[in-house]
């Protein structure tokens, strides 16, 4: 616990984007009106770039330390101190979060710049950038948090920003409901995540060491060894709960359904949130909590299989989609499946490595598709595109490079990261040849659908209508430069993780090793070099990718092989299934949404017939009692009062005649009275 370095500048990495968000978010509409969109640009982009510079500085400070001392901590204040629960508002940067903050601020900065071009004609310009900055802040809090609770704050923050940005054009009902869907589905995952956090804290407190700080947990996690909860070991239970959170954020089966719909948001949002950063939060969280996942082989198996199946499942859906962004969305789900697969077989470094390369090439692909959509005047259907490389050389070349990267063609970065995961899936103690097979099949599909996209969009004849063709243009430099940078990164990022079998040194694995061995548990199995097997598998995955590309070429460019050959297969049923995304949305609708509706209606009926009956009954009783009271009041109380008044009136009527107004008369009476008194006295 002593070998850390206290610093006080890390807080500025998340705070700068927050400042940008506040300035643009609160008086943004006035800024835009008075100083124009340039002022909004400056306020939004500068903090992210500054945060990137600070991140680079922090990274170099890490580099300058001994490997075991690479831990920067910026402790700001004690956030919660209640009983034995202590949480600090503290930011930490170690090898893992160091990589993450570079990705978030670096890729995020590029996307901010790109957005200034893409969103140029948007009216609510300030709102967009305020939310984008707020997202960057939340994501940085998520990755830099030094404890689970602060991480949860970021975790929820990114979900909120994601919701707001998916529904950015909320005037359309579909967009608004896509945002709600993302939020609600994520909420299911967040529920699991929260339970996992509670269970870990509770068990640690039970074992006499209450803590939720990552570093402390990693050092003392052996305390939960052998403890059980509901008959399951705590490690397994907590891991599965945390993993439920990860399936929500990182779009794994069964909670992936929100991500394809999230494409309703502006394309830079898809690139930043739904490809490069936020959706990797689940993967990052598993990496961060690796010490506890390593304690539970059961949980790891679940994680690995979920990842592998998601990779295959989403890739197969991607084969038949025609919307340019939807293909990329399913591709993202599929690639996230790879990362989770890597995590599940204990190859945490490989998973994080793929997270990084994926951030580069997928951000580039999304931004490229945004550039295409921009040029096509909002059209997203690939069947109406084609031949665009003639008009959009920058977009085309960067898109192509990234496609090579995602397809896993050497020497592009995707090859190294994906191959590392596949090899670990095959060789690791948690892996199996079956897992490798699934990943391998998904790799072939990935290559196919990505090149199908390239051929349909950029090659062949232009199928757009005349009007659109006339307006085709390359995007402005603020949009193409980020593409070039990302494409360059997508090309070269692989050198960081060239495996030893190919003469590299797999630097990223050595760099991240201290984080992933921290628990001293299930120390990552150093896969012995498989020699010939490793080379064979490598060749096989490149081969299947090449086969996918070749098929795509035959079907969509040369047209010598009709796609119908496959769509008609087995009576067309498999094609219809993947075209309709396996009817998962319909299934969820029928089972969960309608199930909820049925329960809701039952509740409504209960409300109507039971609660309302009681309430109405009470009202009737009250009315009856009031009616009786009214009668009593009218006849008894009023009767008494009226009778008294009647008597008084009657007496008055009779006695009034005594007052004659004649003074002599009165005097007679007086004299008469006196005489009477005297007579009585005398007698």
């Amino acid at each position: 616990m002593h070998d850390l370095i206290e610093v006080n500048y890390l807080r500025w990495i998340p705070l700068l984007p927050l400042i940008g968000a506040v300035i643009n978010g609160v008086p943004g509409v006035l800024i835009q009106k008075n100083w124009g969109k340039r002022a909004i640009n400056a306020i939004a982009v500068t903090p992210v770039l500054l945060a990137f510079c600070i991140s680079v500085y922090a990274f170099f400070q890490l580099l300058g330390q001994e490997p075991e001392k690479r831990y920067l901590l910026d402790h700001m204040w004690t956030w919660i101190d209640s009983g034995n629960l202590k949480a600090n508002a503290a930011f930490a940067v170690d090898q893992l979060s160091g990589v993450m903050i570079l990705i978030v601020t670096g890729v995020g900065g590029l996307i901010h710049i790109y957005s200034t071009g893409y969103m140029h004609d948007e009216k609510s310009y300030w709102r967009f950038f305020a939310l984008l900055n707020l997202f960057t802040f939340s994501m940085l809090v998520l990755v830099m948090a030094d404890n689970l609770l602060l991480m949860f704050v970021g975790w929820e923050g990114v979900g909120l920003c994601s919701y707001a940005l998916i529904g950015f054009w909320y005037q359309t009902y579909e967009n608004a409901s896509a945002g709600s869907k993302a939020f609600i589905v994520n909420r299911i995952g967040d529920f699991g995540f929260a339970i996992g956090v509670f269970l870990i804290f509770w068990t640690m407190a039970d074992a006499g060491h209450p803590t939720i700080t990552f570093r402390d947990l990693a050092a003392n996690i052996s305390l939960i060894d052998g403890k059980t909860f509901l008959g399951v070991s705590v490690a397994t239970f907590a891991c599965l709960m945390l993993f439920v959170g990860a399936t929500g954020k990182s779009a794994q089966i069964p909670l992936y359904v929100w991500l394809p719909d999230a494409m309703a948001g502006p394309t830079p949002v898809s690139a930043l949130i739904h490809a490069a950063t936020m959706v990797t939060a689940g993967v990052y969280m598993i990496g961060r909590m690796n010490f506890i996942f390593s304690m539970s082989p059961t949980a790891l198996t679940v994680v690995a299989w979920t990842g592998a199946l998601t990779a295959l499942f989403a890739a197969s859906i991607g084969l038949a989609q025609n919307d340019i962004k939807r293909v990329l969305a399913y591709s993202t789900v599929s690639q996230l499946g790879y990362m989770v697969l890597g995590m599940g077989v204990g190859a945490y470094a490989a998973g994080i490595f793929h997270l990084m390369t994926h951030a580069f090439f997928k951000a580039c692909l999304f931004l490229g598709s945004g550039s295409v959509i921009h040029a096509m005047g909002g059209e997203q259907d690939m069947r109406k595109m084609g031949g665009l490389r003639k008009w959009m050389p920058y977009t085309y070349w960067t898109f192509l490079i990234s496609t090579f990267a995602i397809a896993g063609i050497p020497p592009f970065s995707g090859f190294f990261s994906k191959d590392e995961i596949l090899w670990k899936a095959f060789s690791s103690e948690h892996g199996s040849p079956l897992l490798w097979m699934v990943g391998f099949a998904a790799a072939g599909m990935t290559a196919f659908y990505m090149f199908r996209q390239v051929f349909m969009t950029f090659w062949g004849e232009c199928r757009a209508d005349h009007h659109t063709q006339e307006h085709l243009h390359e995007s402005p430099p603020v949009m193409t430069y980020p593409l070039v940078v990302l494409a360059a990164l997508a090309t070269i990022a692989g050198i960081w993780g060239i495996p030893e079998s190919l003469g590299g040194s797999n630097e990223i694995e050595h760099w991240l090793a201290p984080v992933f061995h921290a628990g001293g548990h299930g120390a990552e199995h150093h896969a012995a070099h498989g020699g010939i097997i490793e080379y064979a598998l490598m060749a096989a995955s490149v081969g299947v990718a090449a086969l996918g590309i070749f098929l795509a070429y035959l079907m969509y460019e040369k047209k010598s092989l009709s796609p119908d050959t496959f769509t008609e297969l087995a009576g067309g049923a498999p094609y219809r299934a993947i075209y309709n995304k396996y009817y998962v949305d319909e299934f969820y609708n029928a089972v969960f949404v309608n199930g909820l509706l049925v329960i809701t209606r039952l509740c409504a009926a209960f409300d109507h017939y039971v609660i309302d009956f009681i309430v109405d009954g009470a009202a009737y009783v009250t009315r009856f009692v009031s009616w009786v009271n009214g009668l009593f009041d009218a006849y008894i109380i009023d009767g008494i009062v009226n009778r008294i008044a009647d008597v008084t009136l009657g007496l008055g009527t009779r006695f009034r005649h005594l007052q004659t107004g004649s003074i002599n008369g009165y005097l007679y009476v007086v004299v008469l009275g006196v005489v009477l008194v005297m007579v009585v006295r005398l007698v």
């Binding site: 009034r656 005649h657 004659t660 107004g661 003074i663 005097l667």
Partner: protein
């Protein structure tokens, strides 16, 4: 010859009866007031007579002084009321002023 107590009492009774008769029969308000004066004076005669022939104290004489003073005040107030009645009704006939009849 000495006039005894009875002589005073007889005079007093005659004056009282005359006053009473005046009060009861007069319709003129001033006449009624004059009748009241007679009644008060008959009481005064009684006071003086009992003081002279009674215990020998001066109580009766002092009371008579009070009655004279009261009669003066009563006459003032009574005449003021009569004046007010006259201004309102233009008459001082008590039979005509019977607006308070029930």
């Amino acid at each position: 010859m000495t006039i005894g107590l009875n002589g005073f009492l007889i005079v007093s009774a005659i004056v009282f009866v005359l006053g009473l008769y005046c009060v009861l029969t007069r319709r003129n308000a001033i006449g009624i007031l004059m009748g009241v004066e007679l009644i008060l004076n008959s009481a005064n005669i009684n006071y003086l007579a009992f003081a002279r022939y009674g215990g020998g104290s001066y109580d009766g004489q002092i009371f008579a002084l009070f009655v004279i003073m009261l009669a003066a005040a009563e006459a003032v107030i009574g005449l003021a009321i009569v004046l007010g009645i006259y201004q309102t009704f233009h008459t001082i006939d008590v039979e005509a002023t019977e607006t308070l009849r029930g």
